[in-house]
Subunit: 314 residues, 2 copies
Amino acid sequence: MKNIVVGIDIGGTNTVIGVVDNTGEIIVETSFETQPFKNDKAFSQHLISEIRYLLNDLANVNLLGIGIGAPNANYFSGKIESAPNIPWAKDVSLAAILNKEFNVVVKLTNDANAAALGEMLYGNAKGLTDFILITLGTGLGSGFVSNGKLILGHDGFAGEMGHITAVPGGRLCGCGKQGCLETYVSATGIRTTVLEMMRFLKTDSVLQKYTPKQITSKLIYEAAVDGDKLAKDVFDFTAKILGEKLADVVALTSPQAVFFFGGLSAAGDLLLVPTKNYMEQNLMPIYRNKVSLQQSALIGKNAAVLGAAALIWN
Amino acid sequence: MKNIVVGIDIGGTNTVIGVVDNTGEIIVETSFETQPFKNDKAFSQHLISEIRYLLNDLANVNLLGIGIGAPNANYFSGKIESAPNIPWAKDVSLAAILNKEFNVVVKLTNDANAAALGEMLYGNAKGLTDFILITLGTGLGSGFVSNGKLILGHDGFAGEMGHITAVPGGRLCGCGKQGCLETYVSATGIRTTVLEMMRFLKTDSVLQKYTPKQITSKLIYEAAVDGDKLAKDVFDFTAKILGEKLADVVALTSPQAVFFFGGLSAAGDLLLVPTKNYMEQNLMPIYRNKVSLQQSALIGKNAAVLGAAALIWN
């Protein structure tokens, strides 16, 4: 009998389920779209059937537990509470539902917290005691590790850097506030910036030949790499906002490194080099040239699923 | 023989030395002005003579160690490094100097971190695992406790909320940056706001009869309590900036409470009530009505000295 854990990453776009062994290898994996469910019951039922499907294919395994990373997920209550980017996720007791179904330990945390745990156990954060992991997907998630432990806060909801105010009175956010960092710095945010710049600026751009729906962060990245001025300006605009806010965050937790994960982080140096410059310009002298910004080591490997599983292996 | 600890709070204005017993009582205490020393050597020599003077008066005591809270003090290196508000404090190995002199354990941390420890051991933060302590004196210092432990950061310099950017391109700060929170929210900051408002606004105010040097945060507080419109506007302006930034900080560490200590915190509800309102307006829904803002329980008792001593009692 081989011990296994199910790791689940519920993202704004996709839900990924992986069966993980104790060496951090994902044995089997599947995924489906997160959004198109009428309600949380419909989602939960589909999730359960997908987990059963994966487990039924495996011989001689012993399921130790299920770990879940999800937006606005609460480690203490085991619930997803009002996830800004997922309409059905208002108040879902997912840990209790899966525990009843599979009769194993179920632990749940913020998707970015889970990715931070994954980075610490299997990635570039091995041996680090103080670091931040930022996921740049549909939104901006963050997991803070301090003194070698996740900062969960008194209520389990710490680590929402995506919802600090980047631009007072700025873009409306899914959380109900205005100007949140994730409305500018995320795959969605950078797309909005492109559409705004194309509407109001006269700069020629290869992106003008696409409809708004066709424009993705990947397309913007490719245009910038090809030298498109507007696309490059958009990355600079995004890096400036991110760099300024990172400088604030460094002054609070003084991390050794910040790791980036998720769709937009694939832009790599195109985003991280200018972000680092803007961050350094806004840092107090004692923090300068000490904090490295780098891509997650687990981008191909799915840090979020490994991290979700790590909730159990821990 | 009674075991004792020396706790030292080096503030931007005064340095306080207390001899503390294991019940958290300060047996004897003395203080002197921090600023008027030619260099760090002159300061250290005076500090040593004041400690000796206190200890010589005590019979049958056993000195266990010396704990120090100071601006930009580093727990890991035992040094004060470039404290923005103290000219002589560029790179002072204070832990090593006192260790050599007294031959006991010497530990040193940020003055606000020390106050946070004091609040946790003897004050309103007893039993709390996630809270923030903010000192509003010459500058704004902060100590963050998460999972029951101080967030020190990888280099010992975490917890500098006073140096997050409140107003981009705003007031020049002692740290070399512009628009740092402490240039607006501190005893010094609120004084600057009064002088700016008196210069540029035509509002009548009782404060106009004082010279700039005579205006203190205490005087501004008293004017506001007496109904002076300008003084009340100044508190509102200060509360708005502090409340907005607290909302950002809550989204990162989700504390149960924020405690206020130091000169300006004596304003109590006059500052804390509007600050709470502005904070709530800027919080993501999941954090609303969960975080209490309150004065330190140790304002009369000197939380900073007790906290500095707590570095040793721990």
